[in-house]
Structures are given as structure tokens and as C-alpha cells.
Amino acid sequence: MTRYAVRHETHYAYGATVDLGFHMLRMTPMEGERQHLIAHQLEMLPRPLRVSAFRDHFGNGVHHVAVESPHDNFSVVLSATVDVEPPAWSEPPTGPAWEDVRESMRADGFPKPPEVAEFVEPSPLAPLDHAATDYARISFPENQPVVTGALDLMGRVHADFTYAPGATDVSTSVAEVMTSRRGVCQDFAHTMIAGLRGLGLPARYVSGYLRTGNSFRGGDASHAWVSLWCGDEVGWIELDPTNNFLVRDGHIAVAYGRDFSDVTPMRGVILGGGRHSHTVAVSVAQLAGT
């Protein structure tokens, strides 16, 4: 088990006074089978009139924040202590042939299990994309075990795509990334998800944090990776195409969704405000003695 201290700071500076600001925050690490939230705190300035917490459709924790007094700045600081356990396996099972997973999702209109079926459907930022599907298909020859294929696809994405912060933004489409072959973790995740879904495999988008370290990419900001359904026996496995490794105990999950649009860490509407600028800083420290 590894214990982490996560700190995620977001600061907004508005060009003009904001009279009313509503924000939806999805930034607190989740409680899961292999992940335990030991302590967490959200500090906001100015202090919101109301913070209400609820679970969304995907089961993610959401904070709804309303700042109703005039303000020129808004900052949110999430700090959390999280324990993460490694998976039971040291090397993942290879899983069934990928066609079996695909067939379980067809099943004459009633996929098995039904709750997974949502993630085989196209979504706004990971739509059906023929280029992404054709690209993914190379990793899934006939009877290829699904995990083997997914690892191969992840390796190819990592090798073929250039990590280029600033080359893309939140609305960059999979089609554009397939052409430019550049992007950040969000783009790699969307591209891989679109390809997997194109083959009929259910894949989710995971938003979270990554252990900070020199050899990792995406650790200085909130991170994103891919979760793939590999049949009843294996269940979900998670893959980080930005860094080309299976998720074991170096990733801290915050939210699961179809794509980025379901799990945006901070989404808001402000009245007033003019031009605004914002800065984000994320640090994930491994605590001593774990």
C-alpha cells in the first residue's frame, strides 16, 4: 500500500468583478476497492455561500459551489491523503478473446453486464472515428486476448503520438489528434477510447492524479487515462497511454465517465468577470514510511 498527499490548487483572476459564480467540482479522490480516502479538504476563497455534495450518474462525488458575493478572484485548494493498494496480480491476466467481449456487448440488444454497456456508446469527445478505429484494429487481430491487445494499443499510442502540452485544448477532437499525432493525456485517452469503442469494446475515461516524478508525464497537472472492460473474470483494467504503463498503485482516481466532458475537474458559469486568467498546480507526494 502506498500513501499519498495530493494538493490541487486552482486560482482564477477575473478582469472585472464577478457577481455570481457557480462551479461544479470533481476533484476529490474517490473511495474505491483499492483506493481509500483517509482525509480530504476543500478550501475556497472567497468562501462560498453554499457547498453541496452529491453523486452524479457515474457515482462520482461532485461539489456544487455557489459564490454569490462580488469577487475578483476565486481559488480552490483540494488537499487529500489517499492510500492506494496495488492490484492482486503482478502481471495482468490476458483475458478472453476480444471478440468475446464485443459479443457480450451486443447480445441481441441486451448487453451483459448492462451497466457496462454505456461505455461502448460514442460520446461527445470520444465519438465514433474511423481513423481511430482502424488504428486500434491493428492491435486486435483475430482471437487476440483483450488485455494483450489493449497493452499493445497503449504502447503504440505512446510511441506514435508526441506529448506536446499546448498543442491541443479541451475541445480538440479525436479526428484532429489522429491527424496531428500530438497532444496531452486527455487527447491520448480520448483517442484510445474512441478506437476501442469503434471495435465494440467498452472503455471509460478516468480523471485523477499521478505520482509526481521525473520520468512521468502529466504529473504536474490533473491526469487522465483509460479504463477498459475485459469481461466478467478480469473486470476493468486501467491503462495510461501517456506513460505507457498499466495502472497499479501510482495513480489516484478521482472520477470515471465516458470522456472528459463527464468528469471536468472544474466547470463553471460566472456572471460578469470580463477576461479571466487561471493557474493550476498539482502536487502528489508519496508519504514517508509507506
Partner: protein
């Protein structure tokens, strides 16, 4: 296949060729009527529908407005047959509500394989942010349910479409009933028809009951997308009939997870929202972030249980035709009942057996993309061989993307054609309401004629030929045409405590006042110049006056400097004037503003006021065809009269509330500014001469007669100014405007932002009076003092104008907008932002 099909059902004629019993009275009446009488009735009904009664159609709702025509001959259904239909609709509504509750709740129907996940998870109408949002205690997910029905050849009714988003219907049915009652009153004499009105009472009771569970004196609003929506007339009518507030998204705000209506008296809590905005547009925070039609935070307020939104956003997820094959099973599972009123045979092709059936008997069906229920269906019969092959390939590759719906030969109903009555196919739109756990169906409907299959699922917004639907009463009800049905009621049973004035409404009224007055002054200026140009030849005085008027028109922004500098007797000048007053000129912009504001304020204006406004625009339609000065002058004359008619109705018919006060503010401020402009321009112009200036000023300020009566002389001297500026008994005088504004401000006590403005007005009044104190009663002296006073007068007028402008700005910006600073910057001020994963610096 086709030749063995039964003939379409005929509503009026039985299989044996005899008239059905419940149609005999009606057909006898129609046959007894000479064709020209029938045609005349039909024309009158069409005129009612398109014109006076349906103000919006002419008020320029624009291309979005559906094109309707109405058939005076109703569709008649026996009461017992209707009761069976209503029971089926009620069962269907209960079922759909339970399905919705499950989809947005536990989703056990998906887990139990009663609902295919694809039809929910890939459905663009499934709004994930609404998951786990439970309506306040007692309220349903589905509150208003409309359905389109058809009758099969064997006489059975079947559902063509479930409408659960925010369907229209009741307003249309009431309107049609009213038109038939007016144009064909004798038809009601022999037949007793169930009244429509009670559905409105049920509706009020239901909304009140839902609101009462939230607060003791609930406020209910109808949330409309606004005047540009094709159903806006219905929204206006229903808000009026139900006694609830018509609100746009910008009228609402959310504070502390409570929805409020922004009013002049501050924020007023809203407990129930009857939603006529599509679900995904309701909240830019959690749903479509580009929507300006909703209110940010609405979903959070729902989540907190502080507001009931009816139907709940996301209700459109069950409008899907592809759900039809699963409804019988769902009815058994959820209600333990058999589905009484099923849909026409429908197959979702995402299942193998269904696909096989569809491919084997393709011509029985039309096909649609599964999530586009309002798309024009693909008819395999009409396809070329290659297109058909292509369709089969698409069906085989992505069967889940298609739904197949049985082709139905719609039942026929007698309809008035060109002077004769002939059977035509129709579909019927019904409306059902939830009331305290039970469903009530409006005893009446709207039938639409569907010549050919294209109308099969046509949305109401497409318009078309419609008919009233009569449900026969078992016993005679009260006598007389329709017992007052469809006649607009100005007083309904819910009488609210003092109605609050919405901030946007106050702002709109203020600007309506300003634009009306602005239009009036422009028209008077154009008229004055036209009167001079129209003579056979221009005399020297006509020339000089025309020149001064041209400068004034330019001063006020109606014509360009280039036009104003043209020789006034040139044909180029005349041509420019016609253009400026035409559809591409500045005058048309002003009219458009009046029109737009009138539309937005439709629910605040009486029928007569609306009609008076509407008259202003009728003329415009022919404006560009006839460019003669003569007809333009006639148009300007009519405009002056129309504005006066509106002003008269405002004066005589509007209660002296704050709404009237803001309209008056606008008018008085604009008229005051106009007087300043006229006098300033005429005194300062290149041709300025006392005689001509004063003569024109009096003419433009409609004060010539007063002057003549008071000063029995042929000369026009500066004494005219005492009438135009400082005569507080003259409704056209500057000081009259200022005093009206002052008393208006006094009446608005308690509205802090206007307090400093009182001082401004209080200072301006003596200053204006001072101008004229210098004028002697002696005409000769007055002429002499002209040179001395000219600049003093102009400076004082500049002051007055600046004061009025600042009052306007304060009123519109600080005061009316103080609740929500965004309004003045709308829509750009509402910005959304999202963080990016990894792409952040």
C-alpha cells in the same frame, strides 16, 4: 400485400355507406348550406386564425411561425369512445412516468433486461445530470403528456408518437374551439359538446398542489424560450389562462439553490416551473453550456428539492418510437396490466428477430434513425433500386441505429375543400395532465390533416390544416355556442396578490415607450417634408422649410448628411427620402424595435393594444412596391394615427401600476428629447429664421392651433416657444414631459436608484420655465430679442436634453438592471469555462 389491406376507416361513413349516427346532425347542417356560405365561413375562420385572433402570426414571429389554416368542420367522436381513448392515454402516461422515474433513478429496468441500454445510454435526450434528481414530494417526472394518434382501418386507435418533452396542444385546441364557435355557431345548437375549459381548472389545481408542497403561497412560472419560438403564442395564452407568470430564462436567477424571479421589488421565489424550454437548454451550468434560454443553477435547485420543474428536464428520453415494442412488457412488469393503447407496429432493428422481420417485409414499414423521431421517414417503396440496396446495407451494418414503423393508412374525416366536403386523412393530438396521482385528458383535441404520409409524425411547429375535435356529451350541457369555450377570459379564478413586475418587463416597457415616441416624431418629420415636396412646384418658402426639415431629419439621425445637403427640389433627394422611410431605412429599424418589444410584451398588452401595434406594421409590407411620394405621405398619415391610437389605449385602458409608469417614462423622456432636438436644430440651422423656425416647430409639435388661438396673428414669433417648451397644459411641451416624469418618480417611492434623478428633474423644470420668462409678449420685441437669446435658449435645451438622457440611462441601466448586471451585456457576459486536463500551463 397492399391489395389485401383494408380500406381506411372513415369517421363519418360506415362500411355500408351510411352516415354514422353521431355525424348525421352535422352533415345535414353542412349539406343544407349553400357552397358560397360554406366558403365564406371557411374564409372567416381562416382570417380569424391568421389575423386578429392570432396576433403573433402577423406580429412578425417571422419564418419560425407555423402556417396554419383551419377547417370549420370539426371531427366528432362519441363520448364513450373517447372515454376508452382517455383511459388508454392515462395508463400510458402512468407507465411513461414510472419508466422515467426508473431511468433517472435506480435503472432496474435496464438491469432486468426490460429496456435495452442502447436506447437510453446512446439517447441524446438522456440527460445524465438529472440522474438521481427526485421531484419534490408528490410531483411526478411527467406532468403533461401529449400523444399523436391515428385510427387503423379496423377502427382501433393507435399511438403514432408520444410527446413528453414540452408539447403544445391545449392552447391550440382552445383557439380552434373559439374560432369554430364564432364562425359556425349553429353547429353547436344541435349538438352538445364537452367543454375544454375544465382542463385549465384541473391544471391550475395540479400546479397549485405541487407548489403547495414546497411553499405555502407558491409562485408558478411558465418558462418560455421567448417570442422567437413558434409556440410562443400558446405560451402567452396559457400563462394568461392559468394565471401564472410568463418568464424567460433571463427573468430568473438562482440564489442559495432557490430559483427566483427578478422583479422591480426584488427577488421573488419560484416554486414551480412549467417548462416549455427543451430540457438540455435549461441550465448552462450542468447541461448545454451554450444555452441562453435557461437559468444557471436550476438543476441544483431541483436537486435541493426547492423547485418542481414540469416536465422534469430529460423527460424527452421516452419520446423514442423504438421503445414501443418494449412497452407491453413494461406495462405488465410495472403496472401488472396489459397495455390498452399500443403504438402502431414498431420494431427496433437492434434485435435479430426484429431486423429479420423488417428485412423480410420491408415495404410494410418506413424507417427512421432511432434517435431522430422527427426526421422525415425513409420510405423503402419510394427508393430506387440502388438506394434500397444501400439502405439494406446500412440496416445490416448498424441495425441498432434504425427503427421501423408500420405504414398506416390514416382514417379519413370529412373536411371542407374548395366548396365541397371530402374525406381526408388525419392524425389527432391529445393532451393529458397529471393531477394528484391521476391523469386527466382534455376532452377535445386537435386534428391535423395529413395528405400523404409525410405528416405521420409531423411536429406541430410545421403547421398545416387543422380541425377542432368534439367529444359528444352524454347529456346536453348548457345551451349556446360552446358555453364560452375558447373565448378569452380576462378573469380566472386565481386572483393573485399584487402582481410583481418583472425587471425585464419593466425594461421592455420603458423601451417600448421610447421607441413608440421616437417613431411618432420621425413620422411627423417625414410627413412635414413630404407635404412640401409633393406640390407641383416648390416655392421659395417650401424650399427653405424643406431644407430646414432635411437638416432636422439629419440631426435626428433619420437621413445621412449627404442626403441633407442635396438640393431639396432634386429627384435624388426625393428618392433618398423614400428610401429612408422604406424597408431598408432608419425608420424601418425603429419599427422593428417596436415590433420586437411588442412581441416580448405580448402577455402584458391587451388585445386592442396589440392590434393597434400590429396596424403599424401592416403598411410596411407594401412600402417598397409603391415608391410614390403620395402613397408614402398617406402611410405617414396612417402611422401618426396608429401611434395615437396606441397612446389612447395606454391612457384609457392601462391600470396605473408600475408597468404603465415605465412605459410612460419612456414616452415622456423620448418626447422631451425630441422637443429639444427640434427646437435646437431649427434655431441653429443654416436657414434659421424666426418665422420659419417657429412655424415648423409648432407644426412638428402639433401645436399650431394652440398658437393661432392664443396669438391671433399671421406671424410666428419666439412666443411659440412658450407653447412648445414651457406650457404645462400642452401635452407636447417640454415642461409637460418633465412634470409627468416628476410625478412618476414620486409614485415610485422606495426605488433608491431613482432618488438622485428627482433632483435633476427638479432643477430642469425651472430652467425650462426660465427660457421663456425672457420672452416678451410683444411680438416685435420678441423678434429683436432673438439674437440675444438664441444661444442662451440652445444652451438651456442642451442641458435639458442631457438631463433626460441621463435619466434614461439611470432608469435602464442602474435601476432596471441592478438585480443582474449581466443583462446589459447579454449574451456575451455569461461566460463558461472549463479546465483542461494536462493542457494547462
Amino acid at each position: 400485400m397492399h391489395d389485401t389491406m383494408m380500406a381506411a376507416y372513415d369517421e363519418a361513413v360506415s362500411g355500408q355507406g351510411s352516415i354514422r349516427a353521431h355525424w348525421r346532425e352535422m352533415m345535414a347542417l353542412i349539406w343544407a348550406m349553400p357552397p358560397e356560405v360554406l366558403r365564406d365561413r371557411q374564409a372567416r375562420a381562416a382570417a380569424h386564425l391568421a389575423g386578429a385572433d392570432n396576433f403573433m402570426a402577423d406580429f412578425g414571429a417571422g419564418a419560425a411561425a407555423p402556417v396554419w389554416s383551419i377547417d370549420i368542420l370539426p371531427l366528432i367522436l362519441p363520448g364513450n369512445e373517447w372515454d376508452t381513448i382517455a383511459a388508454g392515454l392515462a395508463q400510458r402516461a402512468r407507465l411513461l412516468d414510472l419508466i422515467l422515474s426508473d431511468i433517472y433513478g435506480p435503472q432496474f429496468l435496464i438491469k432486468e433486461k426490460l429496456l435495452p441500454p442502447h436506447l437510453i445510454y446512446a439517447n441524446p435526450c438522456f440527460l445524465r445530470p438529472l440522474r438521481h434528481v427526485v421531484p419534490p414530494s408528490g410531483a411526478p417526472q411527467l406532468h403533461f403528456y401529449a400523444a399523436d394518434l391515428t385510427r387503423m382501418p379496423d377502427g382501433a386507435w393507435r399511438i403514432l408518437a408520444d410527446r413528453t418533452q414540452a408539447p403544445a396542444g391545449v392552447g391550440y385546441a382552445l383557439r380552434h374551439r373559439g374560432i369554430v364557435a364564432r364562425t359556425f355557431p349553429e353547429s353547436f345548437r344541435h349538438t352538445s359538446v364537452r367543454r375544454l375549459q375544465p382542463i385549465l381548472e384541473t391544471w391550475q389545481d395540479s400546479l397549485q398542489a405541487i407548489g403547495s408542497a414546497i411553499s405555502s403561497n407558491p409562485r408558478i412560472v411558465l418558462l418560455t424560450p421567448g417570442p422567437h419560438n413558434s409556440a410562443y403564442p400558446e405560451h402567452v395564452m396559457l400563462a394568461h389562462e392559468l394565471g401564472i407568470t410568463l418568464a424567460q430564462g433571463s427573468d430568473l436567477t438562482v440564489r442559495d439553490s432557490i430559483v427566483y424571479l427578478k422583479t422591480l421589488d426584488g427577488l421573488a421565489r419560484v416554486d414551480v416551473i412549467y417548462r416549455r424550454v427543451d430540457g438540455d437548454y435549461c441550465d448552462p451550468l450542468e447541461l448545454r453550456s451554450d444555452s441562453a434560454l435557461g437559468v444557471a443553477g436550476m438543476i441544483a435547485a431541483m436537486r435541493a428539492g426547492n423547485v418542481a420543474v414540469l416536465n422534469a428536464p430529460g423527460s424527452a428520453v421516452i419520446e423514442l418510437p423504438a421503445l414501443a415494442p418494449f412497452l407491453p412488457g413494461l406495462a405488465r412488469r410495472l403496472l401488472d396490466e396489459d397495455l390498452a393503447l399500443p403504438a402502431v407496429t414498431t420494431w427496433w432493428c437492434g434485435q435479430k428477430a426484429a431486423l429479420a422481420e423488417v428485412l423480410a417485409t420491408m415495404n410494410r414499414f418506413v424507417l427512421q434513425p432511432v434517435f431522430e423521431p422527427n426526421a422525415v421517414p425513409i420510405d423503402p417503396v419510394e427508393l430506387s433500386e440502388s438506394a434500397r440496396t444501400n439502405l439494406i446495407a446500412r440496416l445490416t451494418a448498424t441495425p441498432e441505429a434504425f427503427v421501423a414503423i408500420e405504414r398506416v393508412d390514416h382514417a379519413r374525416v370529412p373536411a371542407v375543400g374548395a366548396g365541397s366536403v371530402e374525406p381526408r386523412p388525419f392524425v389527432m393530438r391529445t393532451c393529458s395532465l397529471w393531477n394528484n396521482g391521476a391523469w386527466a385528458t382534455m376532452p377535445g383535441a386537435m386534428a391535423r390533416i395529413t395528405d400523404g404520409d409525410e405528416g405521420r409524425r409531423a411536429a406541430i411547429r410545421n403547421g398545416g390544416l387543422v380541425k377542432d375535435v368534439w367529444i359528444l356529451a352524454d347529456e346536453p350541457t348548457s345551451q349556446g355556442p360552446a358555453s364560452g369555450d375558447g373565448v378569452p377570459h380576462d378573469t380566472r379564478k386565481v386572483e393573485r396578490a399584487a402582481e410583481l413586475l418583472g425587471s425585464r418587463t419593466a425594461d421592455d416597457l420603458f423601451w417600448l415607450g421610447r421607441y413608440i415616441e421616437r417613431l411618432d416624431s420621425a413620422v411627423r418629420q417625414f410627413r412635414a417634408v413630404l407635404q412640401r415636396l409633393i406640390g407641383a412646384s416648390l416655392g421659395p418658402r417650401d424650399m427653405a422649410e424643406s431644407q430646414m426639415l432635411a437638416e432636422l431629419l439629419h440631426h435626428c439621425g433619420w437621413i445621412s448628411a449627404a442626403t441633407a445637403s442635396l438640393p431639396v427640389d432634386s429627384s435624388v433627394f426625393a428618392n433618398d427620402i423614400v428610401t429612408a422611410a422604406g424597408s431598408a431605412g432608419a425608420l424601418a429599424d425603429c419599427r422593428a424595435s417596436v415590433q420586437q418589444l411588442g412581441m416580448a410584451l405580448r402577455d402584458r398588452l391587451s388585445q386592442d393594444m396589440a392590434r393597434a401595434l400590429m396596424n403599424m406594421f401592416h403598411d410596411d409590407e407594401t412600402a417598397d412596391q409603391d415608391r410614390s411620394l403620395d402613397s408614402l405621405l398617406a402611410r405617414m398619415d396612417r402611422s401618426v394615427t396608429n401611434v395615437a391610437a396606441f397612446g389612447g389605449l395606454v391612457a384609457e385602458n392601462m391600470t396605473r401600476g408600475n408597468g404603465w409608469r415605465f412605459l410612460e417614462f419612456g414616452r415622456r423622456i423620448e418626447r422631451g428629447i425630441t422637443v429639444c432636438d427640434i427646437v435646437d436644430s431649427l434655431l441653429g440651422g443654416s436657414m434659421a429664421r424666426t418665422e420659419l423656425s417657429m412655424r415648423l416647430a409648432l407644426e412638428l409639435c402639433d401645436s399650431t392651433i394652440t398658437y393661432r388661438r392664443r396669438y391671433p396673428t399671421d406671424h410666428y414669433t419666439l412666443l411659440a416657444l412658450s407653447i412648445i417648451l414651457s406650457d404645462s397644459t400642452n401635452p407636447r411641451a417640454l415642461v409637460y414631459q418633465l412634470e409627468s416624469i416628476q410625478s412618476g418618480l414620486d409614485a415610485l417611492i422606495g426605488y433608491d436608484p431613482l432618488v438622485p434623478e428627482k433632483d435633476v428633474v427638479g432643477r430642469l423644470i425651472p430652467a425650462v420655465l426660465e427660457i421663456c420668462a425672457h420672452l416678451s409678449d410683444e411680438p416685435e420685441t420678441a423678434a429683436l430679442s432673438y439674437a440675444h437669446h438664441r444661444e442662451t435658449i440652445r444652451a438651456a435645451l442642451a442641458d435639458a436634453k442631457a438631463g433626460l438622457m441621463s435619466l434614461s440611462e439611470t432608469t435602464s441601466r442602474n435601476f432596471l438592471a441592478h438585480i443582474d448586471p449581466v443583462r446589459s451585456l447579454f449574451p456575451g457576459a455569461m461566460s463558461q469555462r472549463q479546465d483542461a486536463h494536462g493542457a494547462m500551463s
